[in-house]
Amino acid sequence: MKTEFTQAELEQLEARFQARIDAEEKIEPKDWMPAGYRKNLVRQISQHAHSEVIGMQPEGNWITRAPSLHRKCVLLAKVQDEGGHGLYLYSATETLGVSREELIEALHEGVAKYASIFNYPALTWADIGAIGWLVDGAAIVNQVSLQRTSYGPYARGMVRICKEESFHQRQGYHIMMTLARGTAEQKAMAQDALDRFWWPSLMMFGPHDAESAHSAQSMKWKIKRQTNDELRQKYVDQSVRQAEVIGLTIPDPALKWNEARGHYDFGEIDWDEFNRVINGNGMCNRQRVAHHIKAHEDGAWVRDAIAAYESKKSRRAGAAAAQGEMSCQTI
């Protein structure tokens, strides 16, 4: 494929690209795309992939302590799904020319981000409920919208991921419902988890549209189909009703139905906290990355062993083939 273009050619290509986007055509890996589009996608998909993988940690932290065998199996299956989502997403970035190894390196160096909510600790069993209900709930709102994203492999990955995420959200909500209908102590545990995870879950949608660095361009390229604030509103509207059903209280005194808007009004996010946690000052930032680095380093000898075994095997196969040829020639 030709890679060097004159300015005029480039403008023409970009115009044609935008026309395809405007016509709701999907962009596929071999299609020409602006460098910025590719970069923006890689950033977003990488962040999404790392979030799935780092998200295995807070939940994995409860697998060995799950309160019943049924809950343990469901949680194991869920965390396994998250890892699977990480795999599809890493594959999607590979179609854009960036390898999983490069992405992992960037994660370890602190260059690549993941959803900041995973820097909050999962301290009680109710937190597993809250993560499923709220964190997966927020993720679904975002991902449902991304099923229509303009990049084909990402959109198709989202369709599959959304199916599994809705099962995750239900299991989380079911944990919360069980606690909310349990003893006073269990209900308090559920409320405490909601209190701690509510605001961080709102932060998952990112800064307000006006302050979002990548939003406008992403919308134009239809990488994003709805803005941060639109998605956040949708999430608040659905969550308020879900909390009411199980009798838990969303920790926001400003939360109020607005008849005129047809939506709930809600309080302002503490953006200082958002920035503090993103910039490395959350409860678990250091442990999350350190955990990933340790598992990766501990596994280095295993990956080396596979490579050595495979190369011995192909050498032996090559030698056997050569031997076969020799004996044919002798005959």
Partner: protein, 255 residues
């Protein structure tokens, strides 16, 4: 054996097999987010799920036989060390990846043969559980056997680690083939498996794999046993305090 004695022996037997599966499943589940790469992380969790699922079937059957209101969770969450009757090899801490894979291979060869034998049990429920387990164990064994070759015939480091693991595990393998009066009685009744009959084939298969993986077969000059009598390594108590944390901190609640 009288019918009621046979029923109680079958219940005990189901608990033993449940304990084996739960304790090993727990060790495997500890690999979640700690695997050497993502695909392997998922595979290990998958195998963990199979074993925990197997434990649930055995425990549920024990609870059904007990008919005293107990459930699968009663067995998993409310018994202490001395009441756990798993074979010791399953409870050993997960160690490095070589240790976990060597253990997995040794018990997979055993489990496949054991479950194939249990499939013909005169007890329909045990036979049905075994039938499902055989399919899983075939897949587990294919995986762990591949890992034995890759690690054994990989790099010097991987061979050394795997050799060390096999050496450390070897003394726990004779217990796999021992049996007591309870198991002997059930074997005679056509319900249980006489594990001693599986030994020769197990040794043959394991020796062949060790050779193919360029490993030395350990001398077999030590052995430890006691799991079926509730005598365990100290690691089991720590595992249970984690596994049973919620029931211990909040006794009797539903989650």
């Amino acid at each position: 054996m009288s019918d009621s004695k046979l029923k109680e022996a079958t219940r005990q037997y189901a608990i033993r097999l449940g304990d084996d599966a739960l304790v090993l499943g727990h060790r495997l589940s500890e690999w979640c987010s700690n695997g050497p790469f993502l695909e392997e992380d998922l595979a290990l969790t998958n195998v963990a799920l199979d074993f925990i699922g197997r434990a649930r079937m055995f425990y549920s059957y024990a609870a059904e036989l007990a008919a005293d209101g107990s459930t699968e969770d009663t067995y998993a969450y409310t018994r202490d060390c001395r009441e756990f009757s798993n074979l010791l090899i399953h409870e050993l801490p997960r160690g490095d990846f070589a240790f976990s894979m060597a253990r997995q291979y040794l018990v997979d060869v055993y489990n496949l043969a054991y479950m194939e034998a249990l499939r013909t049990s005169a007890d329909g429920t045990l036979a049905a559980i075994a039938d499902k387990a055989v399919k899983e164990s075939r897949y587990h064994l294919r995986r762990s056997h591949d890992w034995m070759l890759r690690l054994g015939d990989g790099t010097d480091e991987s061979r050394q680690r795997l050799q060390r693991a096999v050496d450390e595990l070897w003394g726990y393998t004779p217990e796999l083939f021992a049996s007591d009066a309870l198991e002997q009685g059930l074997a005679d009744a056509g319900i249980g498996v006489d594990a001693a009959t599986l030994r020769a084939a197990w040794e043959q298969a394991v020796s062949a794999t060790l050779a193919e993986a360029t490993l030395q077969q350990p001398a077999g000059d030590w052995e430890v046993s006691g799991g079926r009598r509730g005598l365990h390594t100290e690691s089991l108590g720590h595992m249970l305090s984690e596994l049973q944390f919620m029931q211990r901190a909040y006794p009797g609640l539903q989650w």
